[in-house]
Symmetry: D2
Subunit: 155 residues, 4 copies
Amino acid sequence: MPTAKFVPSDPAFETRVRASFARQKLMHLFGATIERVAPGAVDIRIAMRDDLTQQHGFLHAGVVTSIVDSACGYAALSLMPPEAAVLSVEFKVNLLAPGRGERFVARGRVLKPGRTLHVCFGEVFAVAGDGAEERLIATMMATMMAVRDRPDVAD
Amino acid sequence: MPTAKFVPSDPAFETRVRASFARQKLMHLFGATIERVAPGAVDIRIAMRDDLTQQHGFLHAGVVTSIVDSACGYAALSLMPPEAAVLSVEFKVNLLAPGRGERFVARGRVLKPGRTLHVCFGEVFAVAGDGAEERLIATMMATMMAVRDRPDVAD
Amino acid sequence: MPTAKFVPSDPAFETRVRASFARQKLMHLFGATIERVAPGAVDIRIAMRDDLTQQHGFLHAGVVTSIVDSACGYAALSLMPPEAAVLSVEFKVNLLAPGRGERFVARGRVLKPGRTLHVCFGEVFAVAGDGAEERLIATMMATMMAVRDRPDVAD
Amino acid sequence: MPTAKFVPSDPAFETRVRASFARQKLMHLFGATIERVAPGAVDIRIAMRDDLTQQHGFLHAGVVTSIVDSACGYAALSLMPPEAAVLSVEFKVNLLAPGRGERFVARGRVLKPGRTLHVCFGEVFAVAGDGAEERLIATMMATMMAVRDRPDVAD
């Protein structure tokens, strides 16, 4: 996991990220919560639930993607100026192990910030009951875009 | 959209795909339905719903991914022998336009079948009210794996 | 292969694309030539050569990528205004079959143009001796960026 | 950069990787050399050369991809049993900065080994004259396949 130090351009980045996350209704539907919000780094947690599974009873790859996409997008937003909103341009997900576990945490990190595009790296871990052990189940490489001057898009 | 002709190795492929889809509880949660099931080709539909949105009110990229991942996975399964199950290995999604619309259809197609790996191409379209117009909002390139002899995985 | 119709914003797009290609010294090294240049569509050809191979004697995946990256990049550039230059942001390549053949053609197509980002789809085919038969060996999904006001980058 | 510890299944892995690399004629053409070979980790170096450039004089994205694909592929091969050969299934490259520099190093690392598929992460750095400073210019996420029982493919 990359560990760069970034200086946010918006001092109120955490409030802004948390407020935007609260408007993501899909995260409510999934019971996902936002945990850590640091400059260029956001963690999102989710508990396993029967209605989030695929045919073998594992967490659906679409849910894995949803939480790590949101984590990467908000990691990018945390470094953007107040007037910019964030949109996902593209991402690649590698599913390394079946989504088996009680809880999952998605960690999104900015690898390379830019004026328009932010390249992010994300990981999803299955977490055992006591939280002591984490098992990597998926990775994401994502391109996030800072969108300005679009009235339909404001974070 | 590629349009190859494939001969399924399992004559009961449609029943099998539909039965497996019925076990994907995430698709129930989303209100997604499986439409066309042909050899190497599966379509999945979903209606826009407020609880599937991201912060700007568009369909969340994770929902877009979920339906096209399932469409691609089942397109691959439709060509697999009865004893194989399907798992997503990896995919890349490009988000071409915001997820704005009343309904969406994800089309998964096998581009190149193999003994172990199937390469699939998927597209997601936003559909206007009367179904007359479709607008491409996302593409997927995916690698799907035929899994054998794993007791925890059976489609 | 997508077949959209695009109107180029630069009437001299073909001259510009061919002149820029002529400056790609790697293409000279590979003996690659640019064939078709149409709005949003560029084809690049290469002949098999012993010094372009990997350890099994197939065309190296890096050469496959090089020609389809250039084809996609120039397909994007063909739609850009005269003041913009093109840079590859990211791409994904799926290698569908070994790079075995006498000649290869890479076809780059713009799937979705934008002001800043162009999403492109590319295919690489192995071509048999008489040119009658083409076999798909690789696909690319790529994001290309229009770069303006950068003195170090001009196509 | 991930830093897992792996135990190679072939004690002669280093000899095998170096011998296979020596057969990659494209690497000779590029003047690339293999440096570090450790279990699940391979580094490949290249010096900037005029004939490896794209139209702006930067290292061509195809060359960047070639060296990091070889680095990831050999990182995977280093963990495979003697009877297996390696083929690239797919990869995604993010180009984070222009390929400007005197030398470049590609580092390929296995993120998750498997019986058939190895997921690898790669990075390419531009290296300044004295080797003291490295600048990340590209990342790769790749799926590599262990191929057995194919007479045309042996590493």
